[in-house]
């Protein structure tokens, strides 16, 4: 969707068609696990104004790289000059968990929200973002919430422990029962069976245990796939006129292959592909960035943390926490902040720009809150 509009913004006059299996107009996914609000990104008129043809509810069965044809369920075939695969990811479910609810689409959100009622017993598998945002939402709706996490702490994959600790304490304070280092053997719509042999009963069980990139079409078409559709610096796949962007693609971020499941990456990469299609490609230098809202707390992370390496704290105040990380050459590589509302947003935005500019910093000085971040940015 972002690529389609970006093509027009950058002067493309040919045909643009958005094909999607979902029936709704493209909508924002981040609110689904937060407020539950379902909002179309653009109105139908905005698409027709920009001559972007919409094919909602159209299920692609095959892509043929040789003849450059996309086949739809029902037998229709559409020709392309350039193809963008923005197929996203689907909620992961481990074997034995098939009866659990998962959250990916607006329809999933409607079902889940209808279950978050006062007194309802909600079991959530997974202490990641989806699980914790839903836990907050469920508590705010008055439900009794238990979160079961296999790892030793919450948000163990992408978030520094200093930040995860604040969220842990807050969820505990709000009355969420947090069960860490608790393995799940199987789960259904109303019970979770644990590794220790015990079982827990719930009214509803939701699994938030990660996402799997939607690479089926790419693989069947013969594209290179390895934890996502492999793309180069232009987000071009192993076929020269086929691109991939967003959750489904695997790209190089400063020497490491990554696949990002974030709203910002989808925006940035969609726009990047539009430029590449138009022959105006620029080096991809967008810093990974995501946010999460839980209760009145907002968390933002810029860059990618190496959770095995030292992380520095910047003492910002009583109710906010900002941490950052440098690599062996003192290059700033990642930063994260948490606080009420948008209290740390400005700092994280400056950190994001410092990371983008590959700024070399003195970690000790940067930890000192009297060191003005904006002045540091101006000096780069």
């Amino acid at each position: 969707m972002r690529a389609a509009f970006a093509l027009r913004e950058h002067g493309y006059v040919g045909e643009v068609t958005l094909i999607g299996a979902e029936v709704a107009l493209p909508y924002e996914r981040p609110p689904l696990s937060k407020t539950g609000e379902i909002a179309a990104i653009r109105t139908a008129e905005a698409y027709s104004d920009k001559r972007i043809a919409l094919r909602p509810g159209a299920f692609v069965t095959n892509i043929d790289l040789g003849t450059r044809l996309v086949s739809l369920k029902g037998g229709e075939a559409m020709a392309y000059d350039n193809l963008l695969l923005a197929t996203g990811a689907r909620a992961r479910l481990f074997p034995g968990m098939e009866g659990c609810l998962t959250l990916r689409t607006n329809l999933d959100a409607q079902v889940i929200l209808s279950r978050l009622t006062p007194g309802a017993k909600i079991g959530i598998i997974g202490g990641g973002f989806i699980g914790l945002e839903l836990a907050a939402r469920a508590r705010q709706a008055g439900a009794e919430v238990t979160v079961v996490e296999a790892g030793p702490r919450l948000l163990g994959r992408a978030v520094p422990p200093q930040i995860a600790k604040i969220l842990h304490e807050r969820h505990a304070l709000e009355g969420v029962s947090l069960k860490l280092e608790t393995g799940v053997v199987s789960a259904s719509s109303d019970r979770i069976d644990l590794v220790d042999g015990s079982s827990m009963k719930f009214d509803t069980v939701i699994a938030g245990v990660g996402a799997v990139p939607e690479t089926g079409l790419a693989e069947a078409g013969g594209l290179v796939v390895q934890n996502g559709i492999v793309v180069d610096g232009d987000f071009r796949t192993s076929a020269p006129d086929v691109f991939a962007a967003g959750d489904c693609c695997n790209f190089d971020w400063r020497g490491q292959r990554v696949r990002l499941e974030s709203w910002k990456a989808a925006q940035d990469q969609g726009e990047h592909v539009a430029l590449a299609i138009l022959g105006k490609s620029v080096p991809y230098n967008k810093v990974p960035w995501f946010w999460s809202d839980q209760y009145d707390l907002s968390l933002q992370v810029a860059g990618i943390f190496d959770l095995g390496a030292p992380i520095h704290s910047r003492s910002t105040g009583d109710d906010t926490t900002v941490v950052f990380q440098c690599d062996a050459t003192q290059n700033l590589v990642a930063a994260a902040g948490i606080g009420p509302g948008n209290a740390t947003s400005k700092d994280i935005r400056i950190f994001e720009k410092l990371i983008e500019r590959r700024t070399i910093v003195d970690a000790g000085r940067l930890a000192d809150p009297s060191q003005n971040l904006k002045r540091l940015l101006a000096a780069t």
Binding site: R2, F5, I41, R42, W263, Q267, W289, G341, S345, R349
Partner: protein, 102 residues
């Protein structure tokens, strides 16, 4: 429309923004890198987020939530997701006070 005394010129750091509430409405008052003062509606046009928590760079404000960027001297969107421009209000500086025409 009337000229309202909003703040002192010193209440806003260079290249920064403050929130200003008046008459049940919320505004953002900006000071750019050249000590120019500007005023727009206080909430991002994408979702109702206070722009005063965002980052000012020269003549632009970046929404603290989803990074929409606006030119606050004209109100124009420079970077989505926002697609509607911000409404701007006239400002003037008199005797060290910033007045806004709202």
């Amino acid at each position: 429309m009337a000229w309202i005394d909003a703040c002192s010129t010193d209440d806003i750091d260079a290249e920064d923004v403050i929130r200003f509430d008046h008459g049940g409405r919320t505004f953002a008052i900006f000071r750019n890198h050249e000590d120019g003062y500007f005023c727009t509606d206080g909430l991002c046009t994408h979702e109702d987020i206070h722009l005063a928590d965002g980052l000012v760079m020269e003549n632009t404000i970046e929404c603290p939530k989803h990074s929409s960027i606006f030119d606050f001297t004209t109100g124009e969107v420079e970077t989505p997701p926002a697609c509607n421009n911000l409404h701007c209000y006239k400002t003037k500086v008199e005797g060290g006070r910033v007045l806004v025409d709202i």
